[in-house]
């Protein structure tokens, strides 16, 4: 496991060392099992299904990939969505997740293990969480030794923030991206510690995988340059730093440009400019150090002024070019989301669409408690531990936590990036605390520090069942003590800062103890804190984050109710409609309709074309006839609405209706939000405005609703509906699911021209008295 310089074989310390290594492998395996199994609550409580919305798209893409192969996938033009525009899938998705799951499926199947694509997709996220916790172990081990590594890995295995994005079935980019993120950071630190070009190359490849997987890769390409700059500014430049950084920028950028969705953005957008700027700076600094080595101190002083001035000129030119490039684009080359990270008030002022998404809200303090729980208490101790002593690696994790905690404060969604950092820090803090307390107890129990071997072994075995993390604490102290000289051998010119405390701690170690009983109490409290964390995480995994939202359940007095209306209606669609029929719905349900019903949709969750979405929003907000005309012009055969009024499902289309009106009105000004509001209030009862009551969405949602209970009481809005008895003229109901959650309507066929003529004739003769009955069905 740990590549340590082991002492000569045969000695008791070598035995203990081997035992420690075996134990840590065992613990790592257990951590992997824990990370995998804690995410299975969704499968146990519900079933093995893909969750929510975006994962359905990823699933569909993976299906296509596994059926048609990589080249077809790369060139895939999808005509099932955004009708009549279509979408180029291969060039607009981050392919990392799909390729990963596709590869797993291919490997498993070529081993004659017949797993379906869906099963592979469902379990990709849990498997990668196990990988992520192992990556955390390696990263933390590079920073503070394997004891801290094991603690951090155990914490990451069950951190709620990460669980929320990686339960079984949540088949989304973040599932693999967090692993890629941590692994890239590990390889960077590894390169920084070893100065090996091999790891630098691996680092670039890991970065490539991250770029393939998630748009969050910009975090890496900004954080690492910042760290490099920090090292340079604080006088920590070394050739290892150069090797860790320069190949990453060159190879990484070249590789990133290979991903179609990134392409030339990798060199053209401002998010990447920081890395190029630091790339220039590090070369200037490297040159300075090189000349310093060549010349005598006096000559160097002369040279330094020369080099600095030349360097300055180069920098000024580069900055000038950058500024000119940036200034030529309207947002300064930064995307809106990145800008709102830099200036948190930006989005709320200028981009309501970004500000309105709930994931982009700034979190309040309970979010931290919910998502990283007791780690929030331990992080400051971890930060301080990283400063004593401060190394290149520990300064990197400090920078990582500071950046991510700030970003998470701006956008609740970035809590996901904070979680690994918080786990690493807390692992370091816990490990250090356990170190100090157990060492004090050992010291007091044995009387002298020399014959502590037995106590130590006892200690580690006793602790093992209590807490994975604590088990390894005992052997951590000497492991790090061993590791430091070994590291020192590898990097000769390592700064003396690191060496001094380790030497000191060896000599002064005996005196560094705390009182026995206080240590025992503190240890117990720490274990209690860990236990509380475990309880919280299991609760969060079981209750808060495992609902697939495609199947709903509710617990009532007479038992468990399952609402499977979505799949019921998608199945109806796929069995009862023609393959080429077009289904219109609000964009939320686009991915699910294409994936589960295999029918063409007008808009979906990839909201790339605002006009198209506005068209659908306008149709939904218009009266029946106008809506029919819009839908007919788009070749729509069926309209799907989601309605929660019968069972009280709050995220239904009526509650989203104002967004349809707003987005529709943004492009088609005849739709005005004020027409749908009574005195600024959104209501659907008898006080509702006529525009509201005549809108297609209202009619399709509440058609025949009064027949259910006789009064038409809406259980979401908690009121009786305004217009109860009405007929549809241009649409006919074809399907309503068991709990009325999904309602499907068919557009009535276009009226026959002959009928119009006949009607005219008729109205001429009988002055329209019987026109009403004729309107209903002219053929009877």
């Amino acid at each position: 496991m740990a590549a340590l310089e082991s002492p000569p074989p045969g000695t008791p310390s070598a035995m203990r060392h081997a035992f420690g290594n075996v134990l840590s492998v065992l613990i790592l395996v257990l951590i992997g099992v824990l990370a995998f199994s804690i995410r299975l609550f969704s499968v146990i409580k519900y079933e093995s299904v893909i969750h929510e919305f975006d994962p359905y798209f990823n699933y569909r893409v993976t299906q296509f990939l596994s059926k048609n192969g990589i080249y077809e996938f790369w060139n895939w033009f999808d005509d099932r969505t955004w009708y009549p525009l279509g979408r180029v899938i291969g060039g607009t998705v981050y392919p990392g997740l799909t390729l990963t799951a596709g590869t797993i499926w291919w490997v498993v199947n070529s081993l004659n293990i017949p797993l379906s694509v869906e099963t592979v997709c469902v379990f990709t996220a849990p498997v990668f969480s196990a990988f992520a916790s192992w990556a955390t172990y390696f990263l933390t081990k590079e920073v503070k030794g394997s004891g801290a590594g094991l603690a951090a890995a155990a914490l990451l295995a069950m951190v709620p923030s990460y669980i929320s994005r990686s339960v079984a079935g949540s088949y989304d980019n973040e599932a693999v991206a967090i692993f890629a993120l941590i692994f890239t950071f590990y390889l960077y630190i590894k390169t920084l510690n070893t100065g090996s070009l091999f790891y630098a190359t691996l680092n670039a490849i890991a970065y490539f995988y991250m770029v393939c997987s998630w748009g969050g890769y910009t975090f890496i390409i900004n954080l690492i340059p910042m760290h490099v700059l920090l090292c340079i500014v604080t006088g920590r430049y070394s050739p290892r730093l150069y090797i860790a950084y320069a190949p990453l920028v060159v190879l990484g950028t070249l590789l990133a440009a290979l991903v179609p969705v990134v392409g030339f953005n990798a060199v053209l957008t401002s998010e990447h400019f920081a890395s190029f700027l630091v790339f220039i700076i590090i070369h200037v600094v490297a040159l300075v150090y090189y000349i310093k080595g060549l010349l005598s101190p006096k000559m160097f002083k002369v040279a330094v002024t020369l080099v600095v001035s030349v360097g300055l000129v180069v920098c000024v030119i580069a900055v000038g070019i950058l500024v000119a490039l940036v200034a030529s684009s309207p947002t300064g080359g930064w995307s809106g989301r990145s800008l709102s990270l830099l200036d948190p008030t930006y989005a709320s002022k200028y981009i309501p669409i970004i500000a309105s998404v709930s994931e982009h809200q700034p979190p309040t303090w309970p979010s931290y408690f919910m998502d990283i729980n007791v780690l929030a208490f331990l992080v400051p101790a971890g930060i301080i531990a990283c400063f004593s002593p401060l190394s290149d690696a520990s300064s990197f994790v400090v920078l990582y936590i500071v950046m991510s905690v700030y970003f998470s404060g701006v956008m609740v969604r970035l809590m996901l990036v904070l979680a690994p950092a918080a786990c690493i820090m807390s692992g370091i803090a816990l490990s250090q605390a356990f170190d100090v307390f157990t060492a004090s107890i050992k010291y007091h129990l044995s009387g002298s520090s020399n014959s502590t071997n037995d106590a130590e072994d006892n200690n580690s075995t006793n602790n093992a069942p209590k807490d994975d993390a604590s088990a390894s604490k005992a052997d951590k102290s000497e492991e790090t003590a061993k590791e430091r000289p070994s590291k020192k051998g590898k990097k000769k010119e390592r700064e003396h800062v690191v060496d001094k405390p380790s030497v000191k701690s060896k000599t002064v170690k005996k005196a560094l103890v705390l009182p026995l009983e206080a240590s025992i109490v503190a240890l117990l409290l720490l274990i209690m804190l860990g236990a509380f964390y475990v309880i919280h995480c299991v609760w969060a995994a079981a209750e808060a984050y495992s609902a697939p939202s495609i199947v709903l359940t509710s617990q009532s007095r007479d038992g468990l109710h399952v609402f499977d209306d979505f799949r019921e209606s998608y199945a109806w669609l796929s069995h009862n409609t023609d393959v080429d029929d077009k289904v219109a719905s609000w964009w939320d349900y686009g991915y699910q309709t294409t994936a589960m019903a295999n029918r063409t949709v007008i808009v979906d969750n990839n909201t790339w074309n605002n006009t198209h979405i506005a068209t659908v929003g306008t149709a939904m907000s218009s009266p029946e006839k106008a809506a029919w005309e819009i839908f007919n012009s788009l070749d729509v055969k069926y309209v799907l609405v989601v309605f929660g009024g019968l069972i009280g499902y709050p995220s239904d289309d009526i509650n989203k209706f104002l967004w349809m009106v707003r987005i529709g009105g943004g492009v088609f000004p005849h739709i005005k939000e004020a027409d749908y509001l009574r005195d600024g209030q959104y209501r659907i009862d008898s006080e509702a405005t006529p525009t509201m009551l005549n809108s297609l969405m209202y009619k399709l949602s509440y058609y025949r609703f009064v027949e259910t209970d006789g009064k038409g009481f809406d259980r979401v809005r908690r009121t009786e509906i305004g217009k109860k008895h009405f007929k549809l003229t241009h649409f006919e109901e074809v399907f309503t699911s068991h709990h009325w959650m999904v309602r499907l309507y068919k557009l009535k066929p276009q009226k026959n021209r002959i009928r119009g003529k006949a009607k005219k004739l008729k109205s001429k003769t009988s002055s329209g008295s019987s026109s009403k009955s004729a309107k209903k069905n002219p053929w009877i």
């Binding site: 604080t234 303090w365 007791v374 208490f377 992080v379 705390l514 206080a518 309880i535 609760w539």
Partner: protein
Amino acid sequence: MAVNTKLLSLLFLIATVSASFSDSDSDSDLINELVSLRSTSESGVIHLDDHGISKFLISPSTPRPYSILVFFDATQLHSKTELRLKELRREFGIVSASFLANNNGSDTTKLFFCEIEFSQAQSSFQRFGVNALPHVRLVNPSISNLRDESGSMDQSDFSRLAESMAEFVEQRTKLTVGPIQRPPLLSKPQIGVIVAMIVIATPFIIKRILKGETLIHDRRLWLSGAIFVYFFSVAGTMHNIIRKMPMFLQDRNDPNKLVFFYQGSGMQLGAEGFAVGFLYTVVGLLLAFVTNVLVKVKNLTAQRLVMLVALFVSFWAVKKVVYLDNWKTGYAIHPYWPSNWR
């Protein structure tokens, strides 16, 4: 010319003032006077007192040839930050300056921006019937009764400061204010000086960095900075800044009582965030203190005492946060024991 009967005391003055002008001439005279007054102030906001109000608003017969937008100010209330009088007054000036900068020609004489100050114009405040600030009132040419509140700005018109004020003006007067022109944070000579200073200072800074003796080489600075950012973020301060949350609220039922903690997880108050952020941070700091500093102390009793205090405080802090979280979010976090244990 319908003069309020309560203003009999001023009738004499008004009568003399109005009598001294004949109608058409007086209009252009008044406008000229307003224009000249306006040119004396930097942002174009005319400072009026009781005399000016009666001269420009009360004496001329309706319809007047101009509208007047009056900002009601009170120096004695500037200390009350929640009224935001100073800020609004500054924004008012910006609207005025933008109006002047974007319009030239006849439109500029149709609208004048004025302010009156409470201590200098108490009777005008009465005359307008203004008892609460902030208050901005547009006096249309046709308004004869100054107590007519139809021209006053709502809270919503202040909300986006100059932009919303300009919208209000545009809606009511049918004049265009045009894009708001805020003065740049730094004027051009200032920017020049700063750039020059930076250019001059760079070689020195680089020299010091190479020597390694700047503030940035001080580890404690980085440490405290990191801890501070952490505290700042977990306290949800960004939320408070973006949402402009107050530090505390007043209880609706009992105005003397202050509410520091808000129930419901979507929102938090400023003081609440800092309190919990402090609790989050203090535990880790104590732990670090015990493991890094206290171990070096030789005196056993001192160690014991400090550790007891630290443990007690940490325990209390964690307990408090757990309690507050359960109270605020309403979650009931529970363990899953094997069923035969119950």
